[in-house]
Symmetry: C2
Subunit: 335 residues, 2 copies
C-alpha cells in the first residue's frame, strides 16, 4: 500500500457560494487544501473590498481552526472602473479579479461582451499586480467552439498588458493549451479534476448525466488526453483549479440544470489515482502545491497532506449535493 | 389568418411504447396522423409476427374509430435469422425491420455490432420487399461522430443489396444527407421535427435541457440548416419520421436521463410554422404525406388535415410527459 506525503495543496479556483450552502461546502475544501481562490460569482456577486472582506470573514468563521486560508477575488463586470480596481487593490483584500463573458455559466449574468472597454481596468490590475482570471469562453460562439473563439481575446489582453498575470481558467481543449504555451509566461492556465476525467461522451453519449455537466463542457477524447499530458508534463504554467461547483441535487436534476461539478471532497483522491496510473506521483506535488503559488507570488505551504493507496467509496451525497463519482470507488484516499 | 388543407400525414417513425404509457400517447399520434410506423424497441421488444400482431391489436383498441392505422415493425437483433424474417414477411404483419446498433439509444440493449453477420437477414428482407430501417449511429464512435461513422455501413448494405429499400432514420448531419444523396434511390432518410429546430446549444449550451436530449443528439447550426434545406428542397428521399419518444418526466429530469423528445402532439403545428416561415407551405404536404408513402409503396391517404395560422400554447405536460416546446406558443394549429 503506497503512501505519499505532499506539501498541502492549493485550489486556485473554487466556488464556495454564500449563505447556508457555504456552510455545507466550506469544510470540504478546507479539509484538504491549505488555500483556495474563492470565486466571486455569488448571489449577489463580490464587487468591492468591503464585500470581499465580509465574505472572507464568513468563510473564516466556518473553518475556524483548520488553518485554511481563503484567497479572495472580485467580479469584473462591464461597469467596473479603474477606480473600483484601485480601491480593491489598495485594500489588500483581494489577489485577483474574475471576468465572466456574458451568459456563459452560473452567475455570469451582466457578464462582459466588450472586452476592450475594460482595458483601463486591466491596466490598473497590471499596475497593482492583481491577477486577471478569465472564464475563457466567447459568448457568441457555438457551445463547443466557445473556448477556442475566446483565444484571440486572451492573446490581445496578454500582448497589450505584458506585465499583467493572466489565468485562463479550467481549460478544456488542446487548442487552448497550444495558445497558452505560445503566449508569454505571464499567462497560465488552471485545469480541473473533472476535465482530466470526462469527455462529452460522459455528458450526452449515453444517458444524460447532469452531474457531469459543467461549463466549459467537457470536449473530445483528444482534448482530455492533451490535458492529461499537460498536467503530467511538469510545465509550471499549468496548475490545479478544481472549479468545484456545488448545486443542490434538484438544481441539477431538473428541466433546466445548472452547470458545475462538485469535486472538492474527491479532488485529491482522484488526482493521486490519476498520477499513480501514469507512474507520475512525483509530479503531483508541483501541480497542486507549487506552480500555482509561484505564479500568484505566494509562499509555499509548509504543512503536508498524506495520501494513501487505499480505496475510498464516494458518498452518494454530501448534504444534498451529489459529488463527482458518487457511489464509485477511487483507488487513493486522503489519510 | 391563413389556412392549409393537406392530405392527412404519415409519421414514418414513432415510439408508442406499450402498457399504460401506450394508453397515454397513442391518441396524440392518431389525432393528427393517418398512419405511423411504430418502432419495435418496446420492453420487451417486438421480434415475431405474433408479437407484432398483438401489439397492433393493443394500439387499435386504444384508437378505435379514429381511422388511424399503425404500421408494424420488428426489431433486428444479432440473433435474428433469415428464417425469422421469412416468417415475419409471410405473415404480412410488418412492413419494416428496425436495426439498432448496440447501446446507442433507448431500448438498444442487445443491439448489433457485427453488421455483416446480418447479411442473410438483409437478403431475406430484400427478397420479401421489407424495408430496412437503420438507427444510423456507430457504437464505437464519439457521440458527435457516431452518425458519420455509420455512413460506410449504410453504403455497404445499400450497395450489397441493390433492391433493398433502406431508411436512414432521424438524420442529424449534413454529411449524412450528402451520403444519402450519393447512394442509389433505394436509400431514403427520415427527418424529425426537433432536429429541424434544435442544435447542441439547445441541449448543453445554456442550462442543461433534458427535454431537448435525444439520440442522435442535435448537432451544429450548419447541420440544422442543411436539414431545413433538405425538407424544403422537395427531394422525395426525405420524409417525416418524428421519432416522437415519450418518457415520464422523472425519467428525463434525473441523474441519468433518457434520450427522446416527445413531439407527437406538436409536430404538425411546428412543421406548418417552419414551412410558412420559409414561404414553402406548398412543400409541406409532399414531405409529410406523399414521399414516405411512395417510398414504402403505400397508397396516399385520402383524408385531409386542416392547419390554421392560429397560435397554440403547448401544454406544460401531457399526463406526466413533458412535450417539446412545453409552455411555448406555436404560430400554427391543427384545426
Amino acid at each position: 500500500m503506497r503512501t505519499l506525503s505532499i506539501r498541502r495543496p492549493d485550489d486556485f479556483h473554487v466556488h464556495l457560494r454564500n449563505g447556508e450552502m457555504l456552510g455545507r461546502v466550506a469544510e470540504h475544501t478546507a479539509r484538504h487544501f491549505a488555500r483556495a481562490l474563492v470565486m466571486p460569482n455569488t448571489d449577489p456577486p463580490i464587487r468591492t473590498w468591503q464585500e470581499a472582506s465580509q465574505y472572507r470573514r464568513a468563510i473564516e468563521q466556518l473553518i475556524d481552526g483548520s488553518g485554511f486560508q481563503p484567497l479572495m477575488t472580485y467580479k469584473i463586470e462591464p461597469t467596473t472602473t479603474a477606480n473600483d480596481v484601485a480601491k480593491l487593490a489598495q485594500s489588500r483584500t483581494v489577489i485577483a479579479g474574475k471576468l465572466y463573458p456574458d451568459g456563459v455559466t452560473t452567475g455570469s449574468e451582466n457578464g462582459v461582451r466588450d472586452f476592450e472597454a475594460l482595458f483601463p481596468v486591466f491596466e490598473t490590475m497590471e499596475h497593482y499586480q492583481l491577477v486577471l482570471c478569465l472564464h475563457g469562453e466567447h459568448p457568441d460562439a457555438f457551445c463547443l467552439d466557445r473556448e477556442v473563439a475566446f483565444l484571440p481575446v486572451l492573446a490581445q489582453i496578454a500582448l497589450t498588458f505584458p506585465k499583467l498575470r493572466i489565468v485562463l481558467e479550467h481549460v478544456t481543449t488542446e487548442k487552448a493549451l497550444v495558445a497558452v504555451e505560445a503566449l508569454p509566461d505571464t499567462v497560465a492556465a488552471t485545469i480541473t479534476v473533472h476535465h482530466l476525467s470526462l469527455t462529452l461522451d460522459d455528458v450526452i453519449g449515453g444517458l444524460l448525466r447532469p452531474h457531469h455537466f459543467c461549463k466549459p463542457v467537457a470536449k473530445y477524447p483528444s482534448d482530455r488526453a492533451a490535458l492529461v499530458r499537460a498536467v503530467l508534463s511538469g510545465n509550471p504554467r499549468y496548475f490545479l483549479g478544481t472549479d468545484s461547483a456545488p448545486h443542490d441535487q434538484h438544481k441539477k436534476e431538473c428541466a433546466a440544470g445548472c452547470a458545475g461539478v462538485y469535486t472538492a471532497p474527491v479532488a485529491m483522491s482522484l488526482l493521486a489515482e490519476l498520477f499513480a496510473q501514469h507512474g507520475a506521483l512525483d509530479r503531483l506535488e508541483p501541480f497542486v502545491a507549487e506552480f500555482g503559488a509561484r505564479f500568484y507570488g505566494l509562499p509555499l505551504n509548509q504543512e503536508t497532506l498524506e495520501l494513501v493507496e487505499r480505496p475510498m467509496t464516494v458518498p452518494a451525497t454530501y448534504a444534498g449535493i451529489i459529488p463527482f463519482r458518487a457511489n464509485e470507488t477511487i483507488a487513493w484516499s486522503v489519510a
